[in-house]
Every structure is written in C-alpha cells, then in structure tokens.
Symmetry: C2
Subunit: 368 residues, 2 copies
C-alpha cells in the first residue's frame, strides 16, 4: 500500500471487507487480486461507463494483466438510465461470452450507477460471484458501504436488487481529478450528511476544510471519505438488512427524493436535492423544539460548499407533497422523517404533521 | 394440519423452513399465514401459470382472504419461456401496482418454472421479500428444497438468479391429480434419483410401489415426496451455497442436460432426459468396476415407471459430446460426472475418459 493509504473494515461478520482509500491504488489492483487468491484461470468482467472508460479502464486492465489475469471490458452509457434490466441482460451476455465462471469477479469502475448495476450483475450471475468496487465519484463512497445493489424499473428506482457485499473497495483518489465540479459538490453533500447524523466534530472539520475539499486536496479528501465511509459502516454493521437504525442514513432524503422526482430525474443531482432536504429537516428540528443552531449551521455549511439550499421554482409545493405521500406506501402508511436533535445526531419520526411539512416546503423558497 | 400430513424441516440455521406434504392443505394456507404473523396490511402477489390458474388460484385466494389478506394474481404463460428477465419486469410492475411492500409475500403456485421465476421476484423485489411455495408438480419437490431461484438468458439456462429460501412450502397432493401423466413420470424420475444417490431402501420401496405412485395414491406419493425432499434437504443443509457435496444431486444430469440441449428444449422433459442420463451413469459405474447390479436395477426401475432409457435417434453422438464439452467451462475445464458406487451411493469423478463417454452414448441406442 502506498504511504498515506487509509484502510477501513466494514464489519459484517463473514462478509466483512476492507475499503482502501489513497492515491496510486489502481496500479496495485493486480497485486490485491493475487494476495487474496483470486484464481487467474477465471476471467474478470470490468464494468465501466462511457465517461470513465477512456480515463481509467486501461490502467485497471494493465494492473490485472501484469499479474496474469484475463479481463473483458463492458462499457455502459454514462447515466442513471443504465441501471436497467436491459443492461443486466447485456452484461450477462458479455459475461457469458467472456467465459466468466463461479470463481470469476465482476469489477465496477465508476460512480454509483456503475456500482449498483455491476453489483447486481455480480449478485445474480450464476446466483452470485465475487464483486470488487473501484469508485470514481465522491458520492460513490456511500454506495461502497452496505452492499445494496440494484437496477431501476420504469415505475420505481432501485426496486430490483440484492444485498451483495464486495470483496474489497479500492478508492483511488487520483480518479476524482476528472470529476466535474458540480459532481464534486454533490458528492460532498452526502459526506456532510454522514457527519450530521453521527459526528459533530467531523461536521466542524468539514466546515473548516471546505476549501481543501473543494480543491480535491488528497489528504483532506482521503480523510473525509474515510470518515464518511466509517459512519455509514458503523450504521450498516449494526443493521445489515435495513431494519431500523439504517433509516437514519435517509436524513434529507424524504424531501430530497420528492424534489428529484418533481424536478425530473437529472435536473437536480441527488446530492443537491438532499442538501435542500437536510435544510428542510433542520427546520423540522426547530418545530420539534431542538436547538436553533441546527438550522443555522446546516444551511451555512451547504452554502459554503456551493450546494443549493432552496427549492427551485420549477417544483410546486403540491407536487412535492404528493410525491412524498406516494413514497409512503413503502413504509406502511406513515411519512417518515429523519430529524436532527443536535448537530451530529438524529432521530426517526413518524409523527410529523403534514401541515408542518407543507409550511417548510413553502418556506424553502428563494428570497425567504 | 390434516391427519396424514407429513412435515419436514429443511435445516439451514436461521433460514430453516418447513415443508408440509398432504391433502387438503390449500384450505389451510390462510391459517398458516396468520399463525406465522404475516402482516395482513401487506399485499400478497400470487404468481401462477396459465395451466394452473384456472384449477387452483381461486382456492388459494379464498383461503388467504378468509383470514383478511389482500391478494393480487399474476399469471404467466405456461412453459420454460416464462423464466425470463422480461417476465421479471412484468411481475415487478404488477407487484408495484398491487402495492407490495417490504413485508409482503410472493407466492409461487405451480411447477418448477413458476417456483424459479416467482422465487427470483421475491429475492430481488425491494432486495428481497418473503417467499412461499405451493408446488403443483412432482418435479417441483426438487425445486422446493435448496432456495435456488433463477431466470434464463437466451444464451444459458438459470444463469441469472439467487439463493432465496422460502418461509415454508405447502405441498398439496390434491393438485397433482390434474398433472398430465407424462409430467407425473418425469417428476418421479427425479424422486428416484434422490433414492439412487442416498438411500437404497427407498429405491427398493419405489420399485415395489411403482403402481401406487403412478396411480397417484396420496399416501404413497406423500411418502415418496417426503423421502425425496429429505435426501435433497440433507445434502443442501450440509452445503447451502453449492460447493462440493451438492454436486451429487447432478446424477444423470451431465448427459441429461446435453440431451435436453440437443433434442431441443421441450422435446425431452427434464425428468426423461435425466432418466437416460442415469442409465448412462450406471454404465459408467460398470467401467469403473462397481457392481453390475447397478446398471440392471437402474434400467429396470426407469422402464417400470414408463421413462425412456435410450437416447432418441434425433440426438447424434457428436452433438451430445460437444454439448457436454461446452458445459464444462462452468466447472473449470473438467467434465464432471456423478457415478454410482452402489444403489444408494455415488461419487464425483473428474477423471472420466471422454472415450468412455462416447462409447456409452453410442451404446445407449434403441436395439442395443
Ligand atoms: N448502493 C447504494 O448504497 C447507493 C448509495 C447512494 C447512491 N447510490 C446510487 O448511486 C447513483 C449515483 O451515483 P453517482 O453520483 O456516482 O452517479 P454516476 O455513477 O452517474 O456518476 C456521475 C457522473 O460522473 C461521471 N463520472 C464518474 N466518475 C467520473 C470521473 N472520475 N471523472 C469524470 N466523470 C466521472 C459519470 O459518467 C456520470 O456522468 C444513483 O444511481 C444512486 O441510486 C447507491
Ligand atoms: N430451483 C431448483 O432447485 C430447481 C430444481 C429442479 C428444476 N428446476 C426448474 O423447474 C423447472 C421444471 O419444473 P416442472 O417440471 O415443474 O415444470 P413446469 O413448471 O413447466 O410444469 C410442467 C407443466 O405442467 C403444468 N402444470 C403444473 N402443475 C400442474 C397441475 N397441477 N395440473 C396440470 N398441469 C400442471 C405446467 O403449466 C407446465 O406446462 C425448470 O425450469 C427447472 O429449471 C429448478
Ligand atoms: Zn443519498
Ligand atoms: Zn434435475
């Protein structure tokens, strides 16, 4: 491992796995495969997207080939639409043609889209083969912990999937240099979320280090991704199959998901939508009588990172409300909110009056 | 439970589940759901096929509705072609429209096709919901144990799937009355296979009770299905994720699968193809010097059950051989055979000379 590499273990009993975070890691991928005894006889499928392929696929392949591995490359179009059953079908075809067997590995090289899609291929091909993730976005720190993999159905996001833990995650910070700035900010929104639900000190650190993070300083970024993954990892370890605790990870997501749906997928990035949602949750905290600094701090920090904190004009309140009510059928009849009780801690509330929510959504407008 | 109901536990730690085998069981389904605390608020998806729907779907629904459950019915065309990603897409759409949530159940009412397909829906919808099987074929005793669920890809059978254990299996023998006689015989082939790999006494019992079994005598059938499920259950309990021991379940399948592929899927039923395959394996046993009565007994018993014991003219030896060689890539380069060492026990051989196989395939012809 290069000096400065951080290592974190996601603790899930016999499905535990390490996340390596640092620079220059792709060059060491083949070594990692060999150390862990991945069989050279079994071909590897490298799944990536059209934006990432030209940048990093060859380096990944070279690293593996240098250790004697056979790699087939599968490229999907960049974007959420690739998380589909049609793409699963195509990738399975490529896996078959490349001769993948039960001891083969599927590698995801890309953001959360490639991670979720390739992860579901790994979960279902021959009823499950090895999976390795090489995240190339900041947001993907989130999907690199917890083993949730899925594709979308035209009627619902992430509705067809599995829990399938990777063998390991290799987070090479060098790949983040090419990420569009808007994606950087949106990814950091989810990093900050992990602070807000669990770790006040880390929130303060992000606040103090905004400039280094936005400048992609490897040491600051490595530390932030490590802390973000750690919070998620603690939560997931205690609740692998998503019962109760894991729900706290949805801070800002009740409003955020509704905004994404109403704005039209792609208009608002996920990280942007949940930044607005987290400001909304902070206002809910105020209604419940929790300290007023929650709202002030939450809003200030997201502004500092250049993230939106107000609902766009294109999203009328009634549509947002009905999108949220539509969502509720997935949680047995109640709107569920994650509400901060202080910076660094939250609680789950199923008793939020919908009038409060309407008020808050109305209030979260430019100029208010 | 009705008197005469047999109960077997498939022992898989926290994923253990019971199989109930007997008559009049569908009427008790609602009661079973209630006893086990399946929530009435969460809708149920009943998946069945076009041949089974008109016969038993209403009885299943009535039994559940009498206990307050909401059931949506989803019907797929009868036949192997329904095990597809397209059908998964359609069923997920129906599940969404019916409002299925994380606490919902998917029920498979039908043979192995419906079981495998509905099981994969249950495994992947919202990353996994409850699954209950109501097998209506004899062959499905096999798929009711082990949790293997899957759909096909146009390039390979059962290639996209999961391990997803049911909550329980309700084997109502009354449903078997409508099964075409050819399906009865083919299903019994797999029952006898379970005897041949594990239990010589049970093979002798099948031999003595062929007439009762073919006449669908409920007591004989209940016993045979119980014993068949028990053998499979012992094997999978010791090897849930299919490593080594589980391979013994493939007695007759190396040749059998090749015959199915060459004859064209649907020409030979699976149970018919493996009957021929088991006669082939018995001949292999002879080559390895095991007792000659293996071959004699194997062939006699399948003849008695009206199953084919010779390879059809439409399957040339070279095509069978190449189908088998094509299969081998899934097991790292060696043709794998399950070879009987006596009636009731087998061993796995990776050292079978392909010349022996060619000989045996050539020899398994009408008139020889
Ligand atoms: N499984 C989970 O637990 C989990 C958690 C959070 C999000 N997700 C999923 O993740 C997805 C969003 O992830 P994302 O934001 O990473 O999206 P993404 O994968 O679409 O990546 C964002 C964009 O950046 C491009 N890109 C990626 N890496 C790049 C790089 N290094 N340089 C230049 N361009 C690059 C991509 O092509 C894409 O256009 C969603 O589908 C979401 O459902 C899953
Ligand atoms: N998951 C496993 O472990 C496992 C094991 C063995 C086989 N399988 C799968 O099972 C499938 C074969 O199972 P099958 O033989 O039950 O096939 P099937 O489900 O196609 O049923 C055979 C035929 O009988 C009809 N039928 C079913 N029940 C009936 C009834 N009670 N009355 C009248 N008609 C009825 C069906 O419509 C169909 O036409 C294959 O797809 C195979 O891959 C899975
Ligand atoms: Zn999120
Ligand atoms: Zn079989």
């Amino acid at each position: 491992m290069a000096s400065g590499t951080r290592e974190l273990t996601v603790d899930l009993g016999e499905r535990s796995y390490p996340i390596y975070i640092g620079t220059g890691l792709i060059a060491q991928l083949g070594e990692k495969f060999a150390e862990r005894g991945f069989p050279v006889k079994s071909p590897i499928l490298l799944v990536t997207d059209s934006a990432v392929e030209g940048l990093y696929a060859s380096a990944v392949e070279e690293s593996l080939r240098a250790r004697g591995y056979t790699v087939a490359r599968a490229v999907v179009p960049s974007g959420e639409a690739s998380k589909s059953l049609e793409m699963l079908d195509t990738l399975v075809e490529q896996a078959l043609k490349a001769g993948l067997d039960r001891k083969s590995t599927v590698i995801a090289l890309g953001g959360g889209v490639v991670g979720d899609l390739a992860g579901f291929v790994a979960a279902s091909y021959m009823r499950g083969v090895r999976f390795v993730q090489i995240p190339t976005t900041i947001l993907a720190h989130d999907s690199s912990v917890g083993g949730k993999v899925a594709v979308n159905h035209r009627l619902a996001k992430n509705i067809i999937g599995a829990f399938h833990q990777p063998e390991f995650v290799l987070y090479d910070l060098d790949t983040l240099a090419s990420l569009p700035m808007r994606e950087v900010r949106a990814g950091l929104s989810e990093v900050i979320k992990h602070g807000l639900i669990w770790n006040a000190e880390f929130v303060a650190w992000c606040d103090d280090n905004a400039e280094r993070l936005l400048g992609l300083d490897p040491d600051a970024l490595g530390y932030a991704l490590y802390e973000g993954c750690k919070v998620k990892s603690i939560v997931v370890s205690r609740d692998e199959r998503e019962n109760d605790l894991r729900a706290i990870l949805n801070l800002g997501h009740t409003i955020g998901h509704a905004l994404e749906a109403v704005a039209g997928y792609g208009e608002l990035l996920h990280g942007e939508a949940i930044a607005i949602g987290m400001v909304g949750s902070a206002r809910l905290a105020g209604r419940f009588g929790y300290a007023a600094d929650i709202e002030e701090t939450t809003e200030r920090i997201f502004r500092k990172f250049g993230l939106p904190v107000r609902i766009p004009e294109s999203c009328p309140t009634d549509e947002i409300m009905s999108a949220m009510l539509h969502d509720k059928k997935f949680s047995e009849g109640n709107m569920v909110f994650v509400v901060p009780t202080a910076i660094g801690s939250v609680e789950i509330r199923r008793d939020v009056p919908s009038a409060w929510v309407t008020d808050i959504v109305n209030g979260l407008r430019e100029g208010k």
